[in-house]
């Protein structure tokens, strides 16, 4: 599981894309990424078109390219893996820069790098234009079980707090000279993690008691009953149709 990013990617702006209801954006994002993943790898131009579509979306949402590129770094481990494929892959060989590499491997490398970065860019744009509570509300509208969205919203609400608590514990340990370098020096850190669990769990008990005292019935009141309007659905559907059309064209004229 990817290591630590407690900070959401949301960028505060007032663009048209920020305003679209989350459920419509989630569906459009899923369709777009699905279309990208299903595109044949030989159709270079299709991937170029997808990139143009995403770049114009970013421009409308006023998300800078620097922001996107920085966040794209999470796919680097997979890019490194992809770079190895032509070297270890089998089959027909081509010579590139004095190295004999697998042709099939080169295709596979391109395929993974292109789809992974387009997919990650879509996720970044979605997260940059939609606040997390909104994403959860969108998921709830899309019939994700309410238990899951409720747990997720509590998780998000207390995440910063728990991470800060962990930070305080680590600072206290560092202040007392604990700087572990080897696996067998890990015990105090693991004990601190165990303590963090106990503290978090007990906080959960207190939070629940406090909620009961304020009349909690098992469901959180919904503060905004806003649903995607037909205009918003039309906009996002148009976007999805563009993506699917590119994918279909790519299968036809690859």
């Amino acid at each position: 599981m990817g290591a630590g990013h407690a900070h959401a990617l949301y960028v505060h702006e007032h663009s048209a894309i920020h305003r679209i209801a989350p459920e419509a954006k989630l569906v459009a994002g899923l369709v777009f990424v699905g279309a990208v993943a299903g595109t044949p790898r030989e159709a270079f131009w299709a991937f170029g078109l997808y990139a143009v579509v995403l770049a114009s979306l970013a421009a409308i949402a006023r998300i800078g390219p620097g922001f996107v590129f920085l966040r794209l770094l999470t796919v680097i481990p997979f890019v490194l893996f992809a770079l190895l494929i032509p070297l270890v892959g089998g089959g027909e060989q081509t010579v590139v820069g004095g190295l004999s590499v697998s042709t099939e491997g080169l295709w596979a490398m391109w395929n993974i790098i292109a789809k992974a970065s387009l997919g990650a860019t879509t996720s970044i744009l979605l997260a940059a234009t939609t606040e997390i509570p909104e994403i959860l509300r969108g998921l709830a509208v899309l019939r994700v079980p309410p238990v899951m969205t409720a747990i997720a919203s509590f998780m998000i609400r207390y995440l910063e707090l728990v991470v800060e608590e962990l930070g305080r514990m680590r600072r206290a340990m560092a202040a007392r000279g604990y700087r572990p370098r080897w696996l067998w020096q890990t015990a105090p850190l693991a004990a601190a993690t165990g303590t963090l669990f106990v503290r978090t769990y007990e906080r959960g008990e207190r939070v629940h008691a406090a909620m009961l005292a304020r009349g909690y019935q098992g469901t959180m009141p919904e503060l905004t009953a806003r649903r995607a309007t037909s205009r918003e659905w039309a906009l996002t559907s148009a976007f999805s149709i563009v993506a699917v059309t590119i994918s279909i064209l790519a299968w036809t004229f690859r």
Partner: protein
Amino acid sequence: MVGGSLHAPDGFLNAGTALATGIVSAGSVAGALRQSTATLKDKQIPLAGLSAAFLFAAQMVNFPVVAGTTGHLIGGALAAILLGPGVAVVMVTIVVVLQALAFADGGITAIGYNVLNLAIVPAYGGYGAYRLFRRLMPATSAGVVASTGLAGGASVVLAAMAFSLEWLFGATAPIPFDTVFGAMVGVHLLIGIGEAVISALVIAAVLRTRPDMVFGARDLDRSQLADTTRIRVRTFFVAGLIITMFLAGIVSQFSAEEPDGLVSVANQVGIDLGEPTASPVFADYAVEGITNESVSLTVAGVAGVIITLAVATGLLHGMRYGRSRKDRPDPVQPGTHS
């Protein structure tokens, strides 16, 4: 260290595999939800949410490994032992989905296989392994701690095996199953040692202060829990190493079955002989390719059986608990700690 970065991006496995794993994952998570409704009655939702936040935070702790390099907890098995396998599957799924949607970590179309490898297989498989090891260990705190460690390590290896099996069906690159299996399981045996040590130590810390919180230790009474024989980290490290050697021995047994040493070596350096090609240089190897394939099928079959058994064991234990839970008093009374 890219510890357990099974958090795959979009397009890593082919569309069919993404879809199939998506359906399997959705079904399993629905089952886990039903299984944990007893635990997740409205009252427990804030608790589960905070526990999920803990899991997210715990994955951010950089544990030292060797000479200052660090690795991090994957935590599926630990969560299952702390909170029960059904709840753990729900929680880790939430973490994986939110990481894809809100933190751009892991592909949206890869959610199916990421949930399978990071939530379902480690939580159910890890819990199954935990129950198995518990049977072999004394019914004391030390037994719980040791079993947690072994289950934590096993869960990482199971996840690596599951990923290799998915690669067998949905590979997007010409790397044969054997190479991927060998590399993934080999690397994750090492990662598993770290996971084992950390999971065991975390459980030990919780058992010392609030043993009532540990789902996997609810069958023990006070006197059994009070029996705290300390387990040294170094002992654990050695035990982990022995298990690793044992597993590595089994895996290498499979490659030893290969008739031709050259094929085996070629596989190790990553040259694919599995695909017959038109080139006369490779014509000779096409025959070897068939035996090679049958060996990988054996490995794949054995790995599949192990994963299925472990996951089924975890699932059964979760279900048994879900049914009998209503008769028991609630272990945690809200508001007693403030």
